[in-house]
């Protein structure tokens, strides 16, 4: 299988943040341990030294404080880019995100359009301890007023970040932890996305479409590459889960007639459900068989020794494709 070498996600995001801090004086970073330490994943390494403690702020250890004060800062005209240390520690900030950040624009009758980004390391596969390997993007995907991005490459994260800080409404960006330092990834079609918020067809194929996003995009691509040429799989990397670029998915399904959705977050009432439902409604006639979802069952992310049983691997993706195309 052909792989490509590229900068890890952490490096790309670090460079993008440095560039944004350079270009946009109103932008600042805010998060636990992002300054002196450079973040527990070192994504913000060197930025405090370069831009100072006022703009790269070691936040108090309180997620509601981080997002709540960012809302106030955004009201004052700044563009805060927050970091939550791990996906599993987002919950104390949910109130400020859902009832405040997401609604300020509407509450002000559009008189304010605060740009505010919350970066969240996410996902498992690195033997993390409890709460350190979760995927809760679907939780925010249904909240009106929030946009939710799930990049799978440094290039996409860069593009998404640059777009997010100008959007005028809050964006939550999920960064797969296991991609932070990964350099070798399966090759993908070079075609760029049609717009900053569009999905990307990262592999062209004719037999079946897989819609996916985030870290697992790489397992999907690997499965697709190894299945070919027997089964020719098209892979759509959604890049955003809210709003969803359903057009790209529907166009792909119109060509292939089959849809599988793969994600790492648990299945029930998840992103896959939304895509399956939308395609079952708007792409019904194109479907040659049932839309299927491959995602973990509704249970807590287990202790590290059992994470392999929980996570979706390349083999399972291949098996699922073969069942669907036999």
């Amino acid at each position: 299988m052909s792989t490509v070498r590229s900068a890890g996600l952490a490096e790309s995001i670090n460079a993008a943040l440095a560039d944004l801090l350079e270009q946009e004086p109103r932008l600042l970073l805010l998060g636990e341990d992002i300054g002196r330490l450079g973040g527990v994943f070192r994504v913000t390494r060197g930025l405090r030294e370069r831009f100072g403690g006022d703009r790269v702020r070691d936040a108090l250890l309180a997620e509601s404080t981080i997002v709540g004060q960012a809302v106030g800062m955004a009201m004052s005209g700044l563009v805060p880019v927050c970091e939550i240390q791990f996906d599993g520690f987002t919950y104390p900030a949910v109130n400020q995100l859902v009832t405040q950040a997401a609604r300020i624009g509407g509450r002000w009758n559009g008189r304010i359009s605060p740009s505010l980004v919350v970066r969240i390391p996410t996902g498992g596969g690195f033997r993390g301890v409890e709460h350190h390997s979760e995927s809760n993007e679907a939780l925010f995907a249904r909240v009106p007023g929030l946009s939710v991005a799930c990049p799978s490459t440094g290039e996409d994260a860069d593009q998404i970040l640059r777009y997010a800080v100008t959007l005028g409404s809050p964006v939550v960006m999920y960064e797969p932890i296991r991609l932070y330092w990964r350099r070798n990834t399966p090759a993908r079609d070079p075609e760029p996305a049609r717009s900053p918020t569009a999905a990307r067809v990262v592999r062209r194929g004719t037999d079946l479409t897989i819609a996916t996003y985030g870290a697992i995009t790489h397992e999907v691509l690997e499965a697709a590459h190894t299945l070919g040429p027997d089964v020719d799989v098209e892979v759509v990397d959604l890049r955003w889960v809210a709003p969803l670029d359903l057009d790209t998915v529907l166009e792909s399904v119109a060509r292939t007639g089959r849809l599988l959705i793969v994600h790492e977050g648990s299945k029930d009432v998840g992103i896959g459900a939304e895509i399956a439902a939308a395609v079952a409604e708007h792409g019904f006639d194109a479907l040659r068989g049932p839309v299927r979802r491959l995602a973990p069952a509704r249970r807590a992310y287990p202790p590290a020794d059992f994470e392999k049983d929980y996570l979706i691997g390349v083999q399972e993706i291949k098996d699922e494709v073969l069942v669907m195309t036999e």
């Binding site: 600042l28 108090l60 509601s64 404080t65 106030g72 800062m73 004052s76 700044l78 009832t99 009758n109």
Partner: protein, 303 residues
Amino acid sequence: MALKSESEYATDPDDDTRRSLLRHMLVARGIDEEGRQLQKQGALDLWLSCQGQEAAQVGSALAVGPAPTVFPSYREHAVALLRGVTPDELFAQWAGRTFCGWDPRRLRFFPYTLVLAAQTLHAVGYSIGQRLQGLEDFVVMYIGDGATSEGDMSEAMNLAAVESASVLFVCQNNGWAISKPAEEQMHTSLAERARGFGIESARIPGQDPETVFSACSRAAAHVRGQRAPYLVEIQVGRIHGHSTSDAQEVYRTAEDIERTRAADPVTAYAARLSGLGLVDTVWLDAVHAEVRELRLRLMKEYA
């Protein structure tokens, strides 16, 4: 921004200010009464009366002046009106037309926040943001006694203390969070709690607007002079139920309600200024006429 010494701020209201205090209190009372009326008639969906809290609201708002940005809770109608929110802009939200009837930026009076204590962190963050940009960073934030139990309030106090943010926290302790009495909501007082976080504070009675004005002037001087937060806890009475949906008779004794009514800060201050000869019937009649006019316009707009 140059720092001023505390003495540069007046702390005792002069006679014009005293008349102004009374005028704003009377106007707020009239508008509030109209809110209750219109709700009874079904023209408003809900009204949260500020009756009994006018001295605290007007006294604090006049003391800090027009410069600071105000982050209200949802009952600061007297502050809103004083800041230039028109009565019909104020009512629009309670008539179900909008989430905020006024222009928050122009008036530096931000939208009401119905999720309790959420505004506390916004206020501190806004102040920090303004300071970082070299802009006016004085912020006044209002909160009720009950809402202080929410974690966000404590987080905001800690943030303000650590960042030495120019935030004046005004807690109107009206003794109740709907039906839960303040003494069951906390073991100490907000003033003591603030000091625990390293925020200087004062606890004052809220019946006399001049006391409030003086204390808040001093508090504002502290915020400006030290560029540090301050908390004023003002003891006020809640004359009516928590909202028009609330029947306080269920959980409050008749005597307690009567006592609160009897200690009405508006009638007391009107009587006081009359007694002192600072206002006369002509002055009072003029204010009443103004209020009548405002109420008429509200009726036309909403009834």
